[in-house]
């Protein structure tokens, strides 16, 4: 028991109230600071940007308010996180799905597709081995319905990468603009790929965990159909209603919120991931080509940073149930293997498409960083099963994300300094 918890046990009400206040103050101060000019200035520093992109500040705040430290969020409040996170997941899914506009998909360069396929095959394969090792070392006796989704999260943590390149290369040259754009586009596509993998794997895992083979097969077949049907209905419904609001801001807000809540709610009710239902609804909206839907897209996308912060804050609290040692080993394994594997695949792919790019350009380290979507995916099994092993995998993915955010930047800096000739040599 931590010191604040001991104090709470001794002085009950007063300390509990104090903890709640400190929790509110921590989140409030962090949220307010994140919107200030000073923070915007600090963000121009490469290291601050790397820490922010990796979610260090929000994760630490989440751990601080969680059950292990201040305990401002525990018990009922922790349970209440379940619907809130479901909503955040659907929202993130919608933002990802909005990228699936036909014109954008048609413009994907073939070499990027080849890179993603090769990367997914290599990294996914390694992910399966890591997941199998994790399952074999202490989780083999758990039911598949509990341990299956957690193992799937480990595999998915190896797919895709963060679409951010600024912290690696702030000074883009004419020769590095196009490769940087490809790294960014690959990050976006990787997120879609990861969510699609979850969408396909979850019904199969659920079916495998089900006692009856017939019932399992029906579930596996029915869920994707229902998810697509719901997405079509929600997208078309949103268009119909938005055409009748005549651009009134408050009514558009009602429709946007209802779309997110219904997306998340139906997914919860039918047992599939809100990320998947959100992504499908986003894809429908992106392809309806209606000017009224552009406002909806903008308002959904404008909440992206807020949703990411909410997700990380909540994960900091949810990960309290994790087995710390196992999570650290898992996090180190994911981050380390990604740092070794991903740049090799990236170097081959980028050098083939952009022969002028230096072999050891820092951009090739970009794919080593975990995408934020990995956290969103890792939350799913914790919410669905509430099991400690799922929380451990979530904590492992969070550690990998935090390490992944700074390790490539650190490696890039070392590489840059080792490439720079010393003054003596230059002279």
């Amino acid at each position: 028991m931590t010191t604040p918890l001991l104090l709470a046990a001794a002085a009950e009400g007063a300390t509990r109230v104090l903890a709640v206040f400190v929790g509110i103050a921590v989140v409030g101060a962090a949220a307010t600071f994140a919107t200030t000019r000073l923070y915007a200035r600090l963000q121009r520093q490469r290291w601050v940007a790397a820490f922010t992109a990796g979610g260090w500040f929000a994760t630490i705040a989440g751990v601080l308010i969680g059950p292990r430290v201040l305990a401002a969020v525990e018990g009922d409040a922790l349970l209440a996180l379940r619907p809130i996170l479901g909503i955040a997941l659907a929202w993130i899914g919608l933002i990802v799905g909005l990228q699936l506009r036909r014109t954008l998909v048609a413009a994907i360069p073939p070499n990027l597709v080849r890179w993603l396929v090769r990367d997914s095959a290599v990294a996914g394969g390694v992910g399966v081995i890591v997941a199998a090792c994790w399952w074999w070392t202490g989780h083999a006796d758990q039911p598949i319905s509990i341990v299956g989704p957690a193992a799937m999260v480990i595999v998915v943590a190896f797919l895709g990468w963060a679409p951010e390149t600024r912290t690696l290369r702030a000074d883009l040259t004419p020769g590095t603009v196009a490769p940087a754009q490809q790294v960014q586009a690959g990050g976006g596509l990787g997120a879609i790929l990861a969510i699609a993998a979850v969408g396909l794997a979850m019904p199969v895992l659920q079916a495998a965990g089900d006692g009856s083979a017939t019932r399992g097969a029906v579930i596996a077949a029915l869920e994707p159909v229902l998810a697509i049907g719901t997405a079509l209905l929600l997208g078309l419904g949103a268009r119909l209603l938005l055409r009748r609001t005549a651009g009134r801001e408050s009514e558009a807000l009602v429709i946007t919120l209802a779309l997110v809540f219904l997306s998340a709610g139906i997914a919860n009710e039918l047992g599939f991931s809100p990320l998947v239902s959100g992504m499908l609804a986003g894809a429908v909206i992106a392809n309806l080509r209606d000017p009224h839907l552009r406002d909806l897209e903008r308002s959904l996308q404008s909440a992206e940073p807020g949703m990411a912060v909410l997700m990380l804050l909540s994960c900091g609290s949810l990960a309290a149930e994790a087995h710390a040692g196992e999570a650290i080993v898992l996090g180190l394994a994911i981050a380390g293997l990604r740092l070794v594997l991903k740049p090799i695949v990236a170097r081959t792919a980028l050098r083939r498409a952009f022969p002028d790019l230096e072999e050891r350009d820092p951009l090739t380290l970009g794919p080593a960083r975990l995408p934020m979507i990995a956290i969103a995916i890792a939350v799913g099994p914790v919410l669905a099963t509430g099991d400690g092993s799922a929380a451990t995998v979530l904590a492992g993915v969070m550690i990998a994300l935090l390490l992944g955010a700074i390790a490539p930047a650190l490696a890039g800096r070392r590489r840059a300094s080792s490439d720079t000739p010393s003054p003596g040599v230059a002279a």
Binding site: T35, L79, P83, L233, V254, N268, L270
Partner: protein, 466 residues
């Protein structure tokens, strides 16, 4: 077919589709979600199912109530009535009574109720911003006169009606000893004094009304909440005497201390929150709406932890900002107004869903008697008070309508009274009677208030016609 009819038909079609989608989801849920729905809540099946279904219920109530509000609006009905009626239709009271499944289950509704404090915080922030010191300075004496007359007349008038007519009509309440009957009659009077600040604010916002009736009704409704807290504390202190039991109701000193903390603590904390919100808001460059929602959560959360009234805390916070920094707080109040539509939809639909239909069906004649006498006494008390307070003659005949809607405050008072009286056999009937009467006022009040605002010439359409 004109545009309006086509629009109404489209909205009805979407509402039908939405209801179909929700019923379908509920029908296939047991097969598809299976046990996964329950294990996340530590094995508690009910909590698991409620947590699983609450997001769908939230989306359903939000969109459905907005749609029904839009559908009823062209017929001259307030949108708030549409939100409330949708809640009644979707809630666990009506459809199960007809043998059909409810789209929003009782345990999901319980979870949604936790959002009430957030909604109340946001609504009260705006309400506080609407009250100006200059107006209060000139009106304080008049509002005190209006309230004293109104509260006095309703309290004792309803008390007499309840003692001689209402209580004898309910079998379990008819044989009570005289002190208990007198106490319960006065409690009924107190409940009839309460009206809903949330509905008053929502109706002013919806109709776009401006003028002395709006300002006076808002300030008086808010001030009345303070009076109610004091009166309720006094009433609860008399529970042991009225029911002849020393261990009821707690000590007098404790109750006084609690009331003082409730009032002074809420006001003090509200000032602190207002100042803190202002300084934080000046530093914020973008997404002030997110900041406001976070503040609403913080007010709700902190008020719950400190046993304060979120309505009062947020009201004072809004009042502080609007009166100390009137120009600099404008941006924030404008952002809250944009957020209020979804807040109203969910808040009022949840209130509607919470209406005890079984109670209304069982006790409707007695409840109607209580509602009828309340309406007459609200009219008499307010009109007499307005005359004594020398309010603007143009609003005197109509201002009573603003005091007719009831909702959250009255329900909270009824629950508090039922809790204080304990588990005596007549308490379920008493609570059902009060809730049935509140339910009728909840739906009838907004209709009367809209009519009153129009007759007083404070709505834009009435002003244009005038």
């Amino acid at each position: 077919m004109n545009d309006q009819t086509r629009r109404t038909l489209v909205l009805l079609g979407v509402l039908g589709l939405l209801a179909g989608l929700v019923f379908l989801a509920h029908a296939v849920e047991p097969m598809l979600a299976g046990d996964l729905a329950t294990i996340g809540a530590g094995g508690d099946a009910d909590t698991g199912r409620a947590l699983n279904g609450v997001t769908l219920s939230l989306g359903f109530l939000l969109l459905g109530s907005w749609l029904l509000g839009e559908i009823v609006s062209p017929f001259g009905l307030p949108r708030v009535v549409g939100y409330l009626v949708f809640g009644v239709l979707a809630g666990p009271g009506l459809l199960p009574a007809l043998g059909l499944p409810a789209p929003v289950a009782a345990n999901e509704l319980e979870l949604l109720r936790k959002l009430d404090a957030l909604a109340i915080s946001l609504i009260a922030l705006v309400a506080g911003g609407e009250i100006k010191v200059a107006f209060l300075r000139g009106m304080l004496g008049r509002i005190a006169t209006l309230l004293a007359t109104q509260v006095g007349l309703i309290l004792f008038g309803v008390g007499v009606v309840a003692f001689f007519l209402v209580l004898p009509m309910v079998p379990s309440l008819s044989g009570l000893p005289t002190p208990a009957a007198i106490h319960l009659s006065l409690v009924a009077g107190l409940l009839c004094v309460a009206n809903s600040p949330a509905i008053v604010i929502a109706m002013i916002a919806e109709t776009g009304a401006r003028g002395p009736m709006c300002d006076t009704a808002l300030a008086a409704t808010v001030s009345k909440d303070l009076v109610l807290v004091v009166l309720l504390t006094i009433m609860l202190a008399f529970v042991p005497i009225a029911f002849g039991s020393a261990d009821d109701g707690g000590s007098g000193g404790g109750l006084v201390g609690e009331a003082v903390w409730h009032l002074a603590g809420s006001i003090g904390f509200g000032v602190v929150v207002g100042i803190a919100m202002h300084f934080a808001a000046t530093k914020i460059e973008k997404r002030i709406d997110v900041f406001i929602v976070l503040c609403g959560f913080a007010i709700a959360f902190a008020s719950d932890a400190l046993h304060l009234a979120p309505l009062l805390v947020a009201l004072v916070a809004g009042f502080t900002q609007a009166n100390i920094w009137p120009e600099r707080s404008e941006r924030m109040f404008h952002s809250i107004e944009t957020l209020l539509l979804p807040v109203y939809c969910v808040f009022f639909a949840t209130a509607g869903a919470g209406i005890r239909i079984d109670a209304v069906l069982a006790l409707w004649p007695v409840a109607l008697l209580l509602v009828g006498s309340r309406l007459v006494l609200v009219w008499a008390g307010t009109t007499a008070g307005a005359k004594l307070a020398r309010l603007d003659p143009g609003i005197r005949p109509w201002i009573w309508t603003a005091f007719t809607p009831q909702a959250g405050v009255a329900i909270a008072l009824a629950n508090e009274v039922a809790k204080a009286i304990g588990d005596r056999p007549f308490v379920p009937d008493l609570a059902a009677l009060f809730l049935a009467a509140i339910a009728i006022n909840e739906v009838l009040g907004p209709l009367l208030m809209k009519w009153g605002l129009q007759r007083a010439g404070e709505t834009p359409s009435a002003s244009a016609a005038g």
